[in-house]
């Protein structure tokens, strides 16, 4: 049985724009067990990274409401000194942008050694060095001894991403937050990284939050999936239910737009319009409504709430049974916006 490792309870993260605060993460409730991979999917701007940063306590100027329990302790209100003891040791994060996660003035080897030194000072220097090489090998960096002496700018984008991953797993975290860990990598390297994340789960029982927009990666990795749209979770289910029996119109639209190997040469589904920016988010009624204009207004719920439609399967709104795709797929070129 999985134990609860992380529980996020009605978390709201708001950014200040001009004189007002706007929620980028809006009352999100989510739990992650030990030995569990929970994927978070959703379009660019839906709040996935903002959620990850909130868990890590990395937002400097955002307003955070709600609670984040890690092993039963609310870490949202933890003083920085205590949080720092968890971050990088118990809780690791793979950042979406490897560029900003690495120190440009330090060699790769020194940066990995630094996190080891910080959290496991008992390791002898020689042992530390050995561990650095081992980590670089694990993430698939060729000639790891040579790589330890290189600076970030001397590496290709894909190599930098792998160094960031090595740092995140250096101390075998109990909770790993992986924000688009393989987006910059080609499939063979991607597979190697995914195996590494899976091992962390299987061998040390870690809980993992995997943020990605690649539904193929989700299908391969996740135990459960949360779909985010405009700051809210619109659907949560186990992976099998989500792929075979998704209910929410947004989830179904996303699934339709993948060029799935198999159904070759047909037209792909396009979700009309764009994710609205934070200030322009409709805060009343359903946020997705404007993107499925062919659905009759009367079908929509006024304030869609998450409903449990089957054990463990939550869907925002109850009126999804009325949802259908447009009959003839219109030529999406003529949906000029702006």
């Amino acid at each position: 049985m999985n134990e609860e490792l992380l529980r996020i309870d009605r978390l709201t993260t708001s950014f200040r724009i001009a004189d007002d605060y706007y929620a980028a993460v809006d009352e999100v409730t989510l739990s992650v067990g030990t030995n569990e991979i929970v994927a978070i999917v959703g379009e660019s701007g839906s709040g996935k990274s903002a959620l990850a940063y909130s868990i890590m306590g990395l937002h400097t100027r955002a307003r955070i409401e709600g609670s984040i329990y890690y092993k039963g302790q609310d870490i949202a209100s933890l003083p920085l000194s205590k949080l720092n003891k968890l971050r990088g040791k118990e809780i690791g994060m793979i950042f979406q942008d490897p560029q900003s996660a690495l120190n440009p003035l330090m060699t790769v080897g020194d940066q990995i050694e630094e996190v080891l030194l910080l959290h496991r000072p008992e390791l002898a220097r020689k042992e530390r060095r050995r561990r650095v090489i081992e980590l670089l090998t694990k993430v698939g960096i060729p000639r790891p001894e040579h790589a330890t002496g290189l600076f970030p700018h001397e590496l290709s984008g894909g190599m930098r991403q792998r160094v960031v991953i090595a740092i995140a797993v250096a101390n075998e975290p109990k909770l790993l937050i992986a924000d688009e860990p393989t987006t910059a990598l080609d499939v063979t390297i991607q597979l190697q990284i995914l195996d590494l994340i899976r091992k962390l789960k299987n061998e040390s029982g870690a809980g993992i939050i995997l943020i990605t927009h690649d539904l193929g990666v989700v299908a391969e990795m996740a135990d459960r999936v949360a779909v985010m749209y405009a700051g809210q979770i619109v659907e949560i289910a186990d992976i099998y239910t989500l792929l075979a029996g998704a209910r929410h119109p947004y989830t179904r639209s996303l699934l339709q737009s993948i060029p799935a190997a198999g159904e070759a040469q047909s037209r792909l589904h396009v979700i009309q319009g764009i994710v609205p920016s934070l200030q322009h988010l409709p805060r009343e009624g359903c946020r997705f409504r404007s993107r499925i204009p062919w659905i009759d207004e009367s079908a929509h719920e006024a304030e869609p709430k998450l409903h449990e439609v089957a054990p463990g399967h939550f869907v925002r709104c109850t009126c999804h049974s009325d949802f259908h795709f447009p009959v003839h797929k219109e030529d999406d070129r003529h949906h000029a916006i702006s």
Partner: protein, 308 residues
């Protein structure tokens, strides 16, 4: 006669190294590529990062220095080393770049971005130019009023369409698209891919599509070439590659594609284990002493692979 033919293309970059920067090494970015594309088709170029895909595309359009080999466009040698590409050909071949966020100049209005190739090749009155740009924007599904806006006012998919509007301004015949959707969300990706197919039909376009996403390649392409360290390991129709892969590298690449069916996880893990074991075992015979692929051998009329 193929529409575009690349023969034994070599692009070697000299790099300085060693003490006093004296020793000359070369990076063999492209090391003997052959390819042929028929008009109206989409040819996909796949391979790991650094395998020479972008360099191949850039060499065809004259942006990377060709060390040796030839590029025949409609039978005419357009890229012999040392000569400049004839202007008529430069109009006919255009490139779409990878990143919609950085490939458009943020300080220029859409009008100036899209009109740039027109200004280089055609002398139009200001009014005529505006009319053409409006027309092009409508063709890519953007409203004509967009001409006075700046790139930051558009979404990623819309920005990529602005890049496409610019690329089709001169009615080219061949478009080299280097990772045109890899920076975009799946839903926006779908929009751009659908659109590329539409204008292909409308304008009889031929595409050379570079991508590391095999799902996209399969969806879009008739013919596929697979590169590894500057060389081809396999080439064939989409069916040849996906249904009957011959080279161990191709097999490894295909087996690594994420599968949308979670019930296949264990089966896939076994399959991948077997493919990797085969790869390790036969690496020495499928690659030469430098770890490079052998020359291609024909298997059928359409299918060839760098077999031992």
């Amino acid at each position: 006669m193929p529409f575009l033919e690349v023969n034994d293309l070599l692009v070697h970059y000299p790099v300085r190294g060693g003490i006093f920067n004296r020793k000359q090494r070369v990076v063999k970015a492209v090391d003997g590529v052959h390819l042929a594309i028929e008009q109206g088709q989409t040819y996909g170029l796949v391979g790991e990062s650094g395998s020479g895909k972008t360099t191949t595309g850039r060499a065809i359009i004259g942006l990377s220095p060709i060390t040796s080999g030839s590029v025949l466009f409609q039978g005419r040698d357009i890229a012999r080393s040392g000569t400049r590409m004839p202007p008529a050909v430069r109009r006919d071949i255009q490139m779409i770049f990878q990143d919609p966020y950085s490939s458009l100049n943020p300080k220029k209005r859409v009008l100036d971005i899209v009109a740039e190739p027109l200004r280089n090749f055609e002398k139009l009155s200001a009014q005529e130019e505006k009319r053409r740009v409006r027309q092009l924007l409508e063709q890519v599904g953007l409203s004509a009023e967009s001409i006075y806006k700046y790139p930051h006012e558009f979404s990623g998919g819309q920005r990529q369409r602005i890049g496409i509007a610019r690329a089709i301004a001169l009615k080219p015949k061949l478009i080299i698209a280097d990772e045109p959707v890899s920076a975009l969300d799946v839903s926006v990706q779908a929009q751009v891919l659908n659109f590329m197919k539409d204008i292909q039909k409308e304008l009889q376009l031929t595409y050379l599509l570079i991508s590391h996403d095999l799902g996209i390649i399969k969806h879009m392409c008739n013919f596929i070439g697979i590169m590894y360290k500057g060389r081809y390991v396999e080439q064939g129709t989409t069916a040849d590659i996906f249904e009957n892969p011959q080279h161990i590298y191709t097999k490894r690449l295909l087996s690594a594609i994420p599968d949308l069916d979670p019930s296949k996880r264990e089966k896939l893990a076994k399959l991948r284990g077997a493919v990797n074991a085969e790869y390790e075992q036969f690496h020495g015979s499928y690659f030469d002493d430098e770890g490079l692929a052998h020359p291609l051998k024909a298997i059928t009329k359409t299918h060839s692979a760098a077999l031992p």
